[in-house]
Symmetry: C2
Subunit: 247 residues, 2 copies
DNA sequence: CGCAGCCTTGAGCTACCTCAACCCGGGTGG
DNA sequence: CCACCCGGGTTGAGGTAGCTCAAGGCTGCG
């Protein structure tokens, strides 16, 4: 535990929210300077999470939210029997831990898929601050609401799409988020295994693999292990928007 | 539009939150009297929604949340092509419209499955009030978080369960919520069609129907159209917790 | 070099879907 | 009051998308 604290300190040549290059994607979106400076004081700590380690686990006491600063996470829930389900992948600027508010305990695991760094946002202080700053309050509510809307989109995917449509939707969503962060729209490196993609999409890893191969044959993608190049974005988009003919 | 306003007025022999019999299930949970009285002033309006009518539609401007007072709703999202997905069923005490906060527009439809009445909660006033009353603020955050956790549970169901497990989980969830409202734990009337259940569970209506029949043959349920009697609750529970043997 | 983790591909199986016929109950109109 | 209709619901038969099981291939690391 002491080593943990030390690690936090070691990371703490801090970058303030107000000067963070993620401020347009993260909690501070749209905040003017007085609010922003208050937020700086709140988000004092960093935490480093090595690839494969958990940021929090289901059942852990909930105290803080986390904003991904660098790296990549997955969250997964599991049922009493061993079954588990990846519920999301989080990249820089995205928030982790919202599930914990409901119970004062986390209800899912957050696992780093590569060496990562997060900003620690003590929740009780966030509540306090958002009582004072209406923009912050509103922004926080928007982020929670956006998570709900995202989840509904995943339900639509899981409930009514076929394997190819699911994978196409997944890739388009990933590239869009990467693009918002200044990465290429057409070329990406997957941070997760086929099995993790499968879990997220409600498919078996073999099906994911076969579908990647199929997309490659059809000239939609180039796939080399985890290196993906999107050759025909419009083609993927068309798959998602109903394979039904474009009459 | 005028008729709408008149209807609202006609409903408005108001029951205050502080004396509402749903206060232990709804937004006021855990609030002490000063907060509660403030809430009363906020939730002034009622709205009646006839069976089959929509409370709001995807794309509508977002202004208010709604607490179900009586009746039963479904929410559904749809993709560009016609596909749509039921994302939830809401009963007395549950909140509708959280999806709208993210965009100032609703992103799903809310449809009454029986004649219903909702309390209208103007959102901007709720934000304002929750800046003043920390318990209310905290309670509101919990409700949003709970919705996220619920959605993750549905993802688990859609992503990794088989038809029987899905239906069993659905029935147990329904009865549990009904029980919390003082209804029988073992006997219920479904408010939705087989098709709506199927959409929620990612199954076709025929599969839902067959699974009901199967449960009946196996002595788990008695099914007479929409009248359901749960004969062997433990048996259903066991189905959900992994049909894998109880070694 | 050899091992371990991940990925790919094939062959056969099965849970669920599709299509189609029929039934039931409640509301309407003659 | 009965005939009819219509929106659910049930049941059957056959098809198929995705799963399971199994073998083998890459890649990076000790």
């Amino acid at each position: 535990m002491t080593t943990d604290t030390q690690r936090v300190k070691a990371d703490a040549f801090k970058v303030a929210c107000s000067s963070c290059n993620l401020r347009e994607l993260c909690l501070p979106v749209g905040l003017a300077s007085p609010d922003l400076e208050k937020l700086d004081s709140l988000v004092a700590n960093r935490r480093t999470v090595a690839r494969g380690d958990t940021l929090f686990r289901s059942g852990d006491e909930f105290q803080s939210l986390y904003a991904v600063r660098t790296g990549f996470f997955k969250t997964c829930v599991s049922s009493e029997d061993g079954r588990d389900q990846v519920t999301g992948f989080q990249m820089a600027g995205e928030l982790l831990g919202l599930d914990g508010i409901s119970n004062d305990r986390h209800s899912c695991d957050a696992v780093a898929l590569e060496d990562s760094q997060v900003c620690v946002i003590p929740y009780s202080q966030l509540e306090e601050l958002s009582r004072e700053f209406t923009d912050l309050q509103h922004q926080f509510h928007k982020i929670m609401s956006r998570e709900i809307v995202r989840d509904h989109g995943v339900m639509l995917l899981l409930g009514s799409m076929r394997a190819e449509e699911r994978l196409a939707a997944f890739l388009l969503n990933l590239t869009q988020r990467l693009q918002a962060r200044g990465f290429s729209a057409s070329s990406l490196i997957l941070r997760m295994t086929r099995e993790e993609i499968g879990s997220y999409l409600g498919l078996k890893l073999e099906t994911v693999s076969r579908t990647f191969s199929k997309f490659q044959e059809e000239g939609l993608l180039e796939v080399k292990q985890r290196q993906i190049r999107i050759v025909d974005q419009a083609g993927l988009q068309q798959l998602v928007n109903g394979a039904g003919g474009a009459c």
